[in-house]
Symmetry: C2
Subunit: 213 residues, 2 copies
């Protein structure tokens, strides 16, 4: 399999964790988001969404959107499971994942921040305030959800890592990179620390990628 | 089942379509997003994410995040299916759904626009330009994905409605409300028109809700 990735991107980071947890080897192909390589026609021919990640299967089939790819991997390589068996538990893991993927990340990714800077003429200070606002808003919702339980265990759901942890960890990395206050989220930080003890999470982190700067 | 909904919200609209397609009756409870009712403590006690929709099952269990709820409904009420059986087809339907739910909607929902107006002091004209920028960006990606195929049929995927259509239709409604140019997306508009011929989609639209203004 070929993974189109960028060391700092949150969505490819999710997928690197999932691939590592599943024990699936892949060839990493770096697409530099900062240099706009994802908008060039050769990548567009592979992924018409022009977004990372994209996973090209050995038969040439292209998958995109990180959560859709993780679901695919879980269906085709069931062990270890990244989504539990019981429908309400599955709904919870998906909801925790979507809370990161829909409510936090889209507001803070590179192209959104670029629009605020260029088209709206916002200063770095204003852009940082925006970033931290949505981090704080989203992580507070996630903390509330995870402390309400039941379901939260050693990890976001239960005592083994799931898709929810694949989403949580990259979001915490991003928050740290922008110096966001993380003390208000003790449950999230406890789970984050637990995840980072695992080789699958550690090896997926930005600084350990071949394209890291 | 009780559905916490708001007539104009895009995410509850997705779920109303899915419930109608499944033939599942529900009691609608309106939560006025414009008046901030979702941020009040009584709704927070039901849904700690303080977002719509929330679906309360007959046993009192609360589900949230529209795509997680649609997946749950599809697992517990399999007919008619809203997600196909084959893993690559499932990945495609999820990817099309996530393209709307992650790349377009979060940038254009009420709280995002409110931040641009209040905290960033942007004019209505600037807010509209932002709205239309992300609509155009996201719908172009979706059109590219749907014309590339294979998979697109009478509907977004195949000849029966799926979760992807539950996401597409509310997004087109929103685009129309903000007078976005839709001519560049003939495939999306053809599928949209096909969907709106179905009673399940028609009955779910904002103007036909009990809380419509």
């Amino acid at each position: 399999m070929k993974l189109y990735t960028f060391f700092r991107g949150s969505s490819p980071f999710r997928l690197r964790i999932a691939l590592n947890l599943k024990g699936l080897p892949y060839e990493a192909i770096a697409v530099h988001l900062g240099k706009g390589e994802h908008r060039k026609s050769d990548f567009g021919a592979i992924n018409p969404q022009q977004l990372l990640p994209a996973l090209v299967l050995d038969d040439g089939h292209v998958l995109n959107q990180s959560l859709a790819i993780i679901e695919y991997l879980d269906e085709t390589h069931p062990n270890p499971p990244l989504i539990p068996k019981e429908p309400k538990a599955r709904a919870r893991v998906r909801s925790l994942s979507l809370l990161v993927a829909c409510e936090i990340h889209p507001l803070n990714n590179a192209r959104t921040l670029a629009y605020l800077r260029k088209q709206m003429g916002q200063s770095e200070e204003q852009v940082s305030a925006w970033y931290r606002h949505w981090i704080a808003d989203g992580l507070a919702k996630l903390e509330a959800e995870m402390t309400r339980g039941p379901g939260t265990g050693k990890f976001s759901h239960g005592d083994a890592p799931t898709m929810a942890d694949c989403c949580l960890v990259p979001q915490i990395f991003n928050a740290q990179r922008f110096n966001c206050e993380l003390a208000p989220y003790p449950t999230l930080m406890r789970v984050y620390a637990e995840c980072m003890k695992l080789e699958a999470f550690d090896r997926a982190q930005p600084s350990k990628q071949p394209d890291a700067e």
